[in-house]
């Protein structure tokens, strides 16, 4: 009984475990990006989605025997793209806030016909 419990504790996690955690995290990020009104929080949720993808990439790099660790390289590229995105995105939010005095994405309707 105790031995069985200890074996359960020491068991290796299957690949699907990491992938499902990544999928749920991606879904939470998508939910927040869809429903939140604050533009800064929308950026945070986009970062959550990118992190979920990173988690899946690194899990593949560790579990697939023929991957050769390429997923870790892609994860570094994703991190760099996310950093560039957050820099430009926050600059846009600051510029919009300076002219419109709001970061509510419902009120920013400059391109509405």
């Amino acid at each position: 009984m105790l031995q069985q419990f200890l074996d359960t504790l020491n068991a290796t996690i299957p690949l699907e475990g990491y992938l499902v955690v990544g999928a749920i995290m991606f879904a939470i990020g998508a939910w927040g990006a869809l429903i939140r009104r604050n533009a800064v929080v929308v950026f945070m949720c986009i970062e959550l989605m990118l992190n979920a993808v990173n988690l899946s990439l690194v899990a593949f790099a560790d579990y697939l025997p023929n991957a050769g660790g390429a997923g870790a390289g892609y994860a570094v590229l994703v991190i760099a793209v996310a950093a560039a995105e957050i820099a430009v995105g926050l600059a846009v939010v600051l510029a919009v806030y300076r002219t419109r005095k709001t970061v509510n994405v419902d009120d920013i309707n400059l391109m509405k016909g």
Partner: protein, 179 residues
């Protein structure tokens, strides 16, 4: 392994839910960094300690600080009722998010990944550098991607400066608002 996995899963997912549902924007930012720390823990479990270090330095350090600066510049005292932070279309948003999550999880579980075994990852940071530069047997496309990412980062930095620069006579100064 199981204990660490369950702990990190709970930390990551609960913090992610907190980002979406928290009424205070600063709490959202701090919970986001907690979620990133959980992902860094996953990277350590997945034999990628160099990536975990990058994750802590870039996400928990730099991105969180940048977002906190963005919050500092853009937030004003606001009503803290729950209805005011979410849009009118929150039910379609919830359903599409649940749909995406269920679809992804279902596809990932029924897919046959063949023979999988942990421990194939890069144990040492040096091999990560070889992969990023596309040398020593790594896919050569990574050399091109590395250069493209470098140019992209430069363009992003310049674009951030240009977009957020205040031109003279544009916008309102803080002193004018206060006075």
């Amino acid at each position: 392994m199981t204990v660490a996995f369950v702990f990190l899963t709970a930390m990551t997912l609960i913090s992610a839910l907190g980002v979406v549902l928290s009424r205070n924007v600063v709490h959202s930012a701090l919970l986001m960094s907690a979620s990133f720390l959980g992902v860094a823990g996953f990277f350590v479990m997945l034999n990628a300690p160099a990536l975990a270090a990058f994750q802590v330095l870039i996400y928990v350090g730099a991105v969180t600080v940048v977002i906190l600066f963005g919050i500092m510049f853009t937030q004003r005292p606001q009503v803290r009722r729950f209805r005011t932070i979410i849009q009118k279309q929150h039910w379609p948003g919830l359903f599409s998010a649940i749909g995406v999550g269920t679809f992804l999880a279902y596809i990932l579980i029924i897919q046959d990944w063949g023979y999988t075994k942990p421990g194939n990852g890069l144990q040492e940071p040096g091999s990560l550098g070889e992969i990023l530069l596309g040398v020593n047997g790594a896919p050569p496309i990574f050399g091109l991607l590395f250069e493209v990412i470098s140019v992209l980062l430069l363009v992003a930095v310049i674009a951030a400066i240009v977009v957020s620069r205040r031109k003279t006579g544009e916008g309102v100064d803080r002193q004018e608002v206060d006075g």
